[in-house]
């Protein structure tokens, strides 16, 4: 617990908790739409934004937000068309994004492998006060949108045609999803890194839905798992001196495995118990029959 006497650890913890809460709240809609890997793709694109920032001596977070928002809108427009070439267009965008990022970071004066690794796998403990403010403001904005528009976003992700016939602003909501995905990717870049961002959006949702029955309960449980994994991950990373981002993701996956095994075991046990119970019922029947025969 001594670790948390340092300011940088406190900042790391707050940053991780915000991401742990926000990423699954957004990720649930991506999973519902079967776009679980989109966050990963946007993360690739964001790396080009980081490269642009380093090259122009601007804050990489701001340039990453701008580039990944543009990338996400591009992906959404391709998806909307629903062309078969969409899959290929996405691949081009993603690999172009990461290749562009590596080249641009290399060209910048600040080029070092350590710098690149920082963005790819996170560097939570170097989070400055200013970074934390950006993470908090953007995180709250995404969270408010995801919770406030829950029913509308659920309707669009669940059945887009029905949403359109209901007169919902489907296109606006889709673009909102694209932009918030890009923003979440960029603010999570500090915590878990661009290559692991998608894990925090998807894994807590996957874990939660092993035990939940409805959308709202899945969302709540996923957010709880996300926050829990983030808090435990930061503490464990500090104690064991491991990379915080990767530790958080491994804990979230551990939660998924535990809940899957737990719920499967529970289902098997219940099935075993159910026939046993009805077996008692069968055994209890003959005396009644005998009694009725006796009456007659």
């Amino acid at each position: 617990m001594d670790l948390f006497q340092y300011d940088f650890m406190i900042r790391a913890l707050i940053g991780a908790l915000i991401i742990g809460l926000v990423a699954p709240a957004l990720g649930i809609y991506l999973v519902q739409r079967r776009l679980s890997l989109i966050g990963d793709g946007i993360g690739h694109v964001a790396l080009t934004g980081v490269g642009v920032g380093l090259l122009l001596h601007q804050s990489p977070v701001y340039t990453a937000v701008i580039v990944s928002v543009l990338g996400a809108i591009g992906v959404e427009l391709v998806r909307e068309r629903g062309r078969t070439s969409g899959d290929l267009a996405l691949a081009l965008l993603f690999y172009g994004g990461i290749a562009g990022g590596v080249v641009l970071v290399g060209l910048s004066e600040d080029s070092s492998n350590a710098n690149l690794m920082q963005f790819l796998f996170g560097s939570l403990t170097t989070t400055s006060r200013q970074d934390l403010t950006v993470i908090a403001v953007l995180g709250v904005a995404v969270l408010v949108a995801m919770l406030g528009l829950r029913q509308a976003l659920f309707a669009v992700c669940n059945d887009e045609e029905y949403a359109r016939v209901s007169g919902l602003p489907v296109r606006t909501l889709n673009l909102l999803m694209a932009v918030t995905t890009a923003v979440t990717v960029t603010i999570a870049m500090r915590t878990v890194g661009l290559l692991l961002v998608s894990a925090l959006m998807v894994v807590p949702v996957a874990a939660a839905q092993q035990v939940t029955r409805g959308f709202r309960t899945t969302m709540t449980a996923a957010m709880a798992i996300g926050v829990g994994a983030a808090a435990a991950g930061i503490w464990l990373a500090g104690e064991a001196n491991t990379a915080p981002g990767a530790t958080i993701v491994i804990l979230a996956i551990a939660a998924f495995v535990a809940l899957t095994v737990g719920s499967t075991t529970w289902r098997i046990l219940r099935r075993r118990l159910a026939p046993a119970r009805s077996g008692i019922g069968v055994e209890a029947e003959p005396p009644d029959v005998v009694l009725q025969v006796g009456v007659r």
Binding site: V165, S166, R213, F215
Partner: protein, 259 residues
């Protein structure tokens, strides 16, 4: 008043004409069935009316307003063929039906007591109120179809549009579904449905529209099923006291006896 008015509508997909010169009127309170073989364009017709497929030529009016300017979507309840594929996350029956309230409420206002009441009433109408908290994935195909009808009914629409609502639905669900439609019609609602097989809803139909190769081949009373009619012991009372007229043999593959 004409609820739906289609004038010389034409639709094409990627250069291939799918619908030609379709004109159709649906009056308030009418129950209209669009019939036809697979690929005849019957689903495209109702999807065009709903604005899901762009109109290539002609004009469509909904509730007296040109389709492009129409904004009162809460007056229309749409029931798609099947539950959307986007169901990677569990959702309860109640949550799916609650989507039906959005058109009426708007996306920014939180749901209130009136919304919850409408969801329960719609589920009671299709006989699924006891399943309100269950995940939709645990329901049978017919029950899922009834959930979609409840979703449309929850918005309290004036016009119900259904795309092949009875395809692959078990008998119990077909009856529950027919009863819900009968009540909706009796309350003054207008119904437009696409069907392959009418089943228990046949007595409700006021007008049949047969689409064949992208054109309207017939409009009028429900055409007699070619096969059933000839069967011995057939006790079919025709509800329409119209003068017998020459009937066209429509969509022969649909109306063939099961041999």
């Amino acid at each position: 008043m004409s609820i739906v008015a289609v004038r010389h509508a034409a639709v094409s997909y990627g250069g291939r004409a799918v619908l030609h010169d379709i004109s159709l009127d649906i009056d308030a309170g009418q129950v209209v069935a669009v019939l036809g073989a697979n690929g005849s364009g019957k689903s495209t017709l109702i999807r065009t009316i709903l604005g899901l497929v762009p109109l290539g030529g002609g004009a469509i009016e909904l509730f007296g307003t040109p389709q492009r300017k129409f904004r009162q979507w809460a007056r229309i309840g749409y029931v798609p063929q099947r539950m959307g594929a986007g169901s990677g996350v569990p959702a309860t029956v109640g949550e799916v039906v609650a989507s039906g309230r959005l058109a009426r409420r708007g996306i920014l206002r939180p749901s209130g007591a009136a919304d919850r009441e409408a969801v329960r009433a719609a589920l009671a109408d299709v006989g699924l109120l006891d399943r309100i908290g269950d995940p939709v994935s645990t329901l049978s195909g017919g029950q899922q179809q009834r959930t979609l009808i409840a979703r449309a009914l929850a918005g309290r629409p004036d016009l119900l549009v259904l795309d092949e609502p009875t395809a692959g639905v078990d008998a119990a669900s077909q009856d529950a579904f027919a009863a819900a439609l009968r009540r909706f019609g009796a309350a003054g609602g207008t119904i437009l449905l696409v069907a392959h097989e009418l089943g228990p809803i046949e007595p409700l139909i006021d007008k049949a529209v047969v689409v064949h190769e992208g054109r309207i081949a017939y409009q009028g009373a429900v055409p007699e099923p070619a096969g059933h009619h000839a069967q011995p012991g057939h006790d079919h009372v025709h509800p329409h006291a119209e003068i017998e007229r020459a009937r066209i043999c429509v969509a022969p593959t649909d109306r063939m006896p099961a041999s």
